[in-house]
């Protein structure tokens, strides 16, 4: 079994690269951290990787809007090579700012949706907010997520959101319905009563409680919450009063990917 080669992109203002690299290592992959300029200079290097990860942060300060400038950078030089990576069976993971970038390039929701069906914009509160959320998995064909039959007791995923622009908005109700039917709403915020809409369980006012999306193949996955901040049991805000079973929720995202792509 060879190491799974994963590319982790960084640029000015990306600031979760260190923990994303570590989470991939802990899950058994072999991550390489590169500046987006270095990859844009030689896009063919994407052929050496099975997965591209765009970590969280404030790329280029989130000036204009979150993820906009990095999305432009990717659309100029890397969009086609990234699409080809996915066509070859590879995957893309975008976390927080990385998810915003994937949406603003149109890689999510992907398929034939284009860039004008879905966006990520300011939270209803209009400010940055940090809190732990509970996620319900809404798809069985995203290799980053454990399918229903294997979830067992692990009904929900817990991890933190930390963002100001995480509200997912669709251009219409029809777009939302279509995403739901296609199984592209990969993860939703949910409270104890099963509601997707109530604050603070839904921390930003996302429609349909959308916390993350995958493309029609399932291999492009992006989410606002941070699996890279729950790779140890001591990351959980209540760890001093729990006896957790199984791996930390965030780590499972990386482990699932390693299992799927390493075969």
């Amino acid at each position: 079994m060879s190491d799974l080669p994963v590319l982790v992109l960084r640029t000015a203002g990306i600031n979760c690269d260190e923990e994303v690299v570590h989470a991939w290592q802990k899950a058994g992959a072999k991550p390489t951290l590169l500046h987006v300029n270095a990859v844009a200079d030689k896009p063919s290097m994407l052929e050496d990787f099975r997965i591209v990860t765009i970590p969280g942060g404030f790329s280029y300060g989130d000036d204009i809007a979150a993820g906009t400038i990095l999305a432009q950078r990717i659309m100029q030089d890397l969009l086609q090579p990234m699409k080809e990576l996915v066509e070859r069976g590879g995957g893309i993971l975008g976390i927080c700012n990385g998810f915003q970038v994937l949406v603003k390039t149109g890689l999510l929701p992907g398929g034939d949706a284009g860039r004008d069906k879905v966006t990520v914009t300011f939270n209803d509160s209009a400010k940055f907010e940090a809190r732990w959320v509970r996620l319900e998995v809404g798809t069985d064909h995203c290799p980053f997520l454990t399918p229903a039959e294997d979830r067992g007791q692990q009904e929900y995923l817990e991890m933190p959101v930390e963002h100001a622009e995480g509200k997912v908005v669709t251009a219409s109700e029809a777009v939302l319905d279509k995403l739901g039917h296609a199984g592209q709403i990969a993860v939703r915020y949910v409270d104890g009563d099963g509601s997707y809409d109530r604050y603070p369980a839904n921390p930003n006012g996302s429609v349909g409680g959308i916390a993350g999306l995958c493309d029609p193949t399932g291999r492009i996955f992006g989410l606002m919450p941070h699996p890279d901040r729950h790779f140890e049991h001591t990351h959980h805000p209540q760890w001093t009063r729990r006896n957790p079973q199984g791996p930390p929720n965030g780590l499972t995202v990386f482990q699932n990917a390693v299992r799927y792509w390493r075969g």
Binding site: K127, E162, E232, H235
Partner: protein, 971 residues
């Protein structure tokens, strides 16, 4: 921004707004603020962003930029038009532009991204030469132009950094039709004729030129230049003023002092002489303790202690008070930015892994009609400061993990903003030394006319005219510039061929003058100012030299490593420029276009400050008066239950969740104990981090602050602060035998024997506690002259004293080691049925030994897993401690207190006192009083005898505790 652009043929504007009111969160936020200042009839605010574009641009080019770059296709719509100044709004509006020379990161990013986009176009003829931005707010329901003016000045704009324009009703201000242009100041070398000045003229010069030097210091400078037989240049005078400023040299704390007055913690009077107050107290404690894990103390930009065999932990805490008073958002942001650079400038560079923030403000419900002229309302300061820390820290990717807010009316005109930063540094990167021949390299942001006179400004007292006079000292930060700089610096530090630089320091107060002057102190340096990269043309040489433009570091780079260094920074898109060389003649030589504009002997610069001997005194009982009556009064209390609700809802005790959640406290994935704990989010005593992912070793970070005791005796205030910080460290599982502390003094003017006596007492208290508890100080900083003065008529109008001095304030910060983070505990109650124990020791000077034994014993119990929850007794007393433990957990408790002394002080903060959740046998084995039991039912019952019992559902306690600051004290 370059503003002279002969190529520019056209001017375009793009206006972007939300597609629907639901998507205009910023507009809603502004509306809330407008209603908070009393304009409740305002119905709605519609915000829009304005981009002004210049260059060789066709309409299609502008439309491309508008649609593909500036507008979100789902959430926003754009309008494009020619010219800058045309607006057509159905509603009255306020428009806000940043002043020339003020940092505008969005404009910079848009310019770069827009250029790249246009270059990719097939025809490729378009050129974007300049971008500027503004914000516009349509206000629905405002009654007249006067209300718009009020909204502009009190909510939307700060005149120090912004211009605002009103369009509506009878007003139609013309908005700028051109880019803001900073003034051009042509070169002409200026000398200051100081040799013939008498004392009165020297004093006037010091004040008029904003030097803030004492007469004695001005005389020393006059005599020095008389000896040299020449006049100083303005640059030389400025350099001396910056280097000798209180902010940079701490001349009061290092002065020679004769103290006579009350003894320290003992009965009777005493007379003492200090050769150097700081050295003889705080630094002496550290050297007496002589801990081998203290790796670098009081010599570098931050103190460093050992973490493990390979790494050290650096810690620095700074204040940014005066800038935060005038422009809270920018002041706080550049405060945390500067403290982060201190950590980057520690050794050859530490990687920042956590920030702390502690604020002292006037209460958020302060009567707005009694606000002195040009003083911002405390609620606006709170919101602005929190926003500044949030936006800078979050963008840097440094978690803000610990903090506190203390409210007192005397902070009204002079709020305090403490910013701390913790870094991780390889132990073989702690030593640094520039060498003769090393190139002086400035890297990071460009130099502009921002932050001129910050060091001297912070060394002066604030007055009601300072907002006008010192607006140039106020700045806006650009966190991403600093993040890039950090990335590049760490790559240079860890370069495979070895560290590429031999020394580094941050460009903070005093700008290049301080950074180069300090680095070259033992060597000498020669700098060519025309080589410094500028934000815009027209800066005079002295402006370049003392500008405190943010996000810059100065490196010493050996010539043979220069190419590699510059190449690495270029790859990271960080500008790095050689501006001079370190020499060997101990002269600081500054040139501009080949002409010498300054030549100072390093010995005079660094050792020439005249020493003073000052007298200090202190007599008990001289309590400082508070300003009372300006905040909402409290109704009389009838029962214990009412009392506890009032204590929980006092702003000093109340939940700071509204603040905490705006900070990213988990980025970098090192978090172990967060600022809020338990399923229902109670307060944590300290933060815990795991600095290295693959090690279970951790650090605890905490603060202690007791200004309320300073009115009685600063000696005990200091001891209480040290005691509080240690309890906070111990409560989460930190090791008291391996904990280091930092001091930050914020004092009013130290111009009387009494205020100096107060400082002496605080220093002695801090050092006595440090020695008794075995906690070495590793770094510290002081900020004096924290006073606000207003005109007599303003004082009469507001009913406030003409001169308001802040309370004596000493912040103690601590970092403690933890062997295994999996042994850490939190304050939330864990298991119904467990008992609650009260552990306390007497606090007097003789009793500090007993107190130390108690801290150590509790730490051992926690380390051996015998304590499930621990919380210290501070603001609000034992009752509030118990309530907070219940609130955090959702469980209840039944408590009965037999000890008369404790019963009588149920709501008083107690030093050296803990509440523990433990087994009855463990409590008894350690001689702790068992005071109650944890109950599954969420109800707090405290039997208090005469004080009346407390019997309340935990939900009521939680509500009282959460409500006051739920929206920044707004509702």
């Amino acid at each position: 921004m370059c503003c002279k652009d002969p190529e520019a043929k056209r001017r375009w504007r793009v206006r972007v707004r939300a597609r629907s009111p639901q998507l205009d969160g910023h507009g809603r936020d502004v509306l809330e603020d407008i209603r908070q200042i009393g304009l409740e009839h305002v119905e709605a605010v519609m915000s829009s962003k304005l981009y002004f574009l210049a260059g060789v641009l066709a309409e299609d080019d502008v439309r491309l930029l508008a649609q593909e770059l500036l507008t979100d296709p789902v959430a926003e719509v754009a309008e494009v038009g020619q010219g800058f100044s045309f607006r057509e709004d159905a509603h009255p509006a306020v428009e806000v532009h940043t002043l020339s020379g003020v940092m505008n990161p969005v404009a910079q990013s848009t310019l770069q991204a827009g250029r790249r986009m246009l270059q990719r176009q097939a025809d490729g003829n378009a050129d974007l030469s300049n971008v500027w931005t503004a914000r516009r707010y349509e206000v629905l329901g405002a009654k007249n132009a006067e209300e718009l003016r009020e909204i502009a000045t009190r909510v939307l704009a700060n005149a120090c950094i912004e211009n605002w324009y009103i369009q509506g009703f009878d007003r139609n201000d013309s908005v700028p039709a051109e880019f803001p242009t900073p003034p051009d100041r042509p070169f002409s070398l200026r000398y200051v004729a100081i040799r013939d000045l008498d004392d009165a003229e020297l004093t006037r010069l010091s004040r008029d030129a904003h030097l803030f030097l004492s007469l004695k210091e001005m005389q020393a400078i006059r005599d020095h230049f008389t000896e040299l037989d020449r006049d100083p240049t303005d640059l030389e005078l400025e350099t001396l003023a910056q280097t000798w400023s209180e902010h940079c040299v701490h001349k009061t704390l290092k002065s020679e002092i004769d103290y006579s007055g009350d003894d320290f913690g003992l009965e009777g009077k005493v007379e003492l002489h200090f050769d150097n107050l700081l050295k003889d107290t705080i630094a002496a404690a550290t050297s007496k303790l002589d801990r081998d894990w203290c790796l670098s103390v009081f010599v570098d930009n931050a103190g460093v202690i050992a973490f493990d065999d390979e790494y050290g932990i650096a810690f620095k805490v700074e204040t940014h008070n005066h800038p935060s008073a005038i422009e809270p958002y920018g002041g706080a942001a550049t405060g945390i930015g500067g403290c982060i650079r201190d950590v980057m400038g520690c050794g050859l560079g530490a990687k920042p892994i956590a920030s702390t923030d502690i604020f002292c403000f006037a209460p958020p419900d302060f009567d707005a009609s009694r606000l002195p002229k040009d003083v911002l309302h405390p609620r606006r300061i709170l919101k602005g400061v929190v926003g500044g820390i949030r936006d800078y820290g979050n963008r840097m990717g440094i978690p803000t993990v610990n903090g506190s807010i203390y409210f007192d009316e005397r902070y009204l005109g002079n709020p305090l903003v403490f910013c701390g930063c913790v870094g991780l540094i390889p132990r073989n990167r702690i030593d640094k030394k520039p060498n003769t021949g090393d190139r002086i390299v400035v890297a990071g942001g460009r130099t502009g006319r921002d932050g001129i006179h910050g060091a001297t400004f912070s060394s002066a007292e604030l007055t009601d005219t300072h907002a006008d006079e010192f607006s140039h000292a106020v700045q806006i930060g650009n966190a991403i510039e600093e993040k890039k700089l950090l990335d590049a610096q760490l790559l240079a530090r860890d370069h495979p061929s070895g560290c590429l630089h031999s020394a580094v320091t941050d460009c903070g107060a005093g700008g290049l003058s301080s950074a180069v002057g300090e680095m070259g102190e033992q060597l000498g340096a020669c700098v060519d100012l025309e080589d410094v990269p500028l934000k815009y043309a027209g800066l005079r040489y002295d402006e370049i030299w003392i500008s405190e433009a943010q996000e810059r570091m100065v490196f010493a780079v050996p010539p043979e490593r220069l190419d590699a260094f510059l190449a690495l920074f270029a790859e990271e898109e960080v500008e790095a420029t050689v501006i001079g060389t370190f020499t060997d003649d101990r002269v600081l030589r500054v040139r501009y276009d080949g002409q010498t504009v300054g030549e100072l002997d390093m010995r005079f610069l660094h050792e020439g400050v005249p020493k003073t001997v000052r007298r200090a005194t202190w007599t008990a009982g001289e309590c400082k008066a508070r300003i009372v009556g300006a905040s909402a009064g409290a109704p009389a209390i009838t029962s214990g239950s009412e009392r506890i609700l009032r204590e929980l809802s006092s702003v000093n005790t109340a939940s700071k969740e509204w603040v905490i959640r705006q900070y990213d406290h988990e980025v970098q994935g090192r978090s172990v104990i967060k600022p809020l704990c338990g399923p229902d989010y109670g307060p944590s005593d300290a933060a815990v981090l795991r600095p290295r992912y693959n090690s279970k070793r951790g650090i605890a970070i905490a603060c202690g602050l007791c200004p309320q005791l300073g009115d009685v005796d600063p000696y005990w205030m200091a001891i209480a602060g040290v005691d509080e910080v240690l309890r906070n460290i111990v409560c989460v599982g930190g090791d008291p035998a391996c904990t280091a502390i930092l001091d930050n003094f914020c004092w009013p003017k130290v111009d009387t024997e009494e205020s100096l006596g107060a400082l002496v007492r605080a220093c002695r208290g801090a050092s006595d506690a440090a020695l008794a508890y075995g906690l070495p100080f590793i770094s510290g900083k002081d900020s004096l002259n924290n006073e606000f003065s207003m005109s007599k008529s303003e004082a009469e109008r507001t009913g406030l004293p003409q001169q308001i001095a802040i309370p004596y304030t000493l912040l103690i910060s601590a970092v403690g080691m933890i062997d295994n983070v999996e042994r850490c505990i939190t304050a939330d109650l864990k298991d119904p049925g467990n008992c609650l124990a009260l552990a306390s020791a007497p606090v007097d000077r003789a009793g500090l030994e007993q107190a130390k034994a108690l801290h150590d014993r509790i730490a051992r119990m926690i380390a051996s897993g015998k304590v499930r929850a621990a919380h210290d007794v501070s603001d609000g007393g034992l009752a509030v401690t118990l309530a907070e433990m219940c609130i955090a957990s959702g469980f209840g408790a039944t408590v009965s207190i037999h000890d008369e002394a404790v019963r009588g002080a149920l709501f008083e903060p107690l030093a050296t006192t803990y509440v523990l959740e433990t087994a009855q046998s463990d409590a008894e084995a350690n001689g702790f009083a068992v005071i109650g039991r944890i109950e599954r039912e969420a109800r707090l019952y405290i039997e208090t005898g005469d004080a009346g019992k407390i019997d309340l559902p935990v939900a009521d306690l939680a509500d009282a505790w959460r409500r006051p600051l739920a929206h920044g004290g707004g509702r």
